[in-house]
């Protein structure tokens, strides 16, 4: 077994183990931190698949942006525990429902996907990615063939951020309170 394969198994186990932990834990705070580990594992798998730039983008966007936003959301929407002091750990408990059907549906989906993957016979023509960096190709492609989607993505981000800021504004603000 090569070293690369061992590293692959390690990070795949990290990502999947964190996913199982997110599924089982009732504490939303721990779920958010486990999501960090899962994203880290997936970023490492990106590197192993030859996508170095996307791994860095994944870490910056997800860990630096989305995860912080999620934790902000958890903290802003929690109901305060009256017995909590600054010494007690954060316990943002969330009820679990539909456990039976959730597990049945996702297990069935996994079995179906696994059978499809096993039976599929991918005819992969062409050479695989060599070890050089992908940044040059991605940059050239973004600025030539995919220029229009690139610009649309920029406008989408602008619209989403302005819309989110407007939506989250407290419109019921009463200055007399």
């Amino acid at each position: 077994m090569s070293t690369e394969l061992i590293i692959f198994y390690f990070f795949a186990a990290l990502a999947l183990g964190s996913g199982v932990f997110i599924l089982l834990t009732r504490n939303l705070m721990y779920a958010a931190f486990a999501l960090f580990l899962a994203l880290l594992g997936v970023a490492a798998l990106f590197v192993l698949a030859g996508a170095d730039f996307l791994a860095v983008a994944q870490l910056m966007v997800y860990v630096g942006g989305i995860l912080v936003l999620l934790i902000f959301g958890i903290m802003l929407t929690r109901t305060a525990d009256p017995e909590a002091t600054s010494q007690t750990p954060n316990r943002v408990l969330v009820a679990l429902g539909r456990k039976f059907w959730g597990v049945v549906v996702s297990l069935g989906l996994f079995i179906v996907l696994f059978l499809v993957i096993v039976q599929a016979n991918f005819a992969l023509v062409g050479d695989t990615l060599n070890s050089r960096s992908t940044i040059r190709t991605l940059g050239v492609e973004l600025m030539t063939t995919h220029l229009l989607p690139f610009e649309i993505a920029g406008i989408l981000l602008l619209v989403a951020l302005v819309g989110a800021a407007y939506l989250a504004m407290n419109r019921n603000f009463d200055p007399t309170e």
Binding site: T77, V103, V105, S106, T128, A165, A168
Partner: protein
């Protein structure tokens, strides 16, 4: 360089991650928990795209698609959290089972 990791491994890991994300999104009775499951599913899809993109070294179309998926995921989470904050102010809870009335 021929990578030592077969495509099959990536696809199985991505399928398992997608199923886990679906299970999280179905079982958590909290909108932010559902968002966490959604992020797991989007990551699994990205893993598939990038694994196939290994066999397209000239154009890297899979990686470009994954880049746009990341951008859309970031936009989606910001809008979703803004809506979650409004729902919390209005209903006092973000349990999707308890927010039944659509009346403003």
């Amino acid at each position: 360089m021929n990578s030592a990791i077969p495509l099959f491994h990536f696809l199985v890991v991505a399928a398992a991650l997608f199923s886990l994300g679906l299970a999280v999104a179905v079982t958590k009775r909290n909108v932010i928990g559902i968002l966490i499951g959604l992020e797991l599913m989007l990551n699994a899809v990205n893993l598939n795209l990038i694994a196939f993109s290994r066999h397209d070294p000239v154009l890297l179309r899979g990686q470009l698609f994954a880049l746009f998926v990341i951008v859309v995921a970031a936009a989606e989470v910001t809008v979703a959290l803004a809506i979650v904050l409004r729902v919390y102010h209005h209903y006092g809870s973000i349990d999707p089972d308890e927010t039944k009335e659509l009346r403003g």
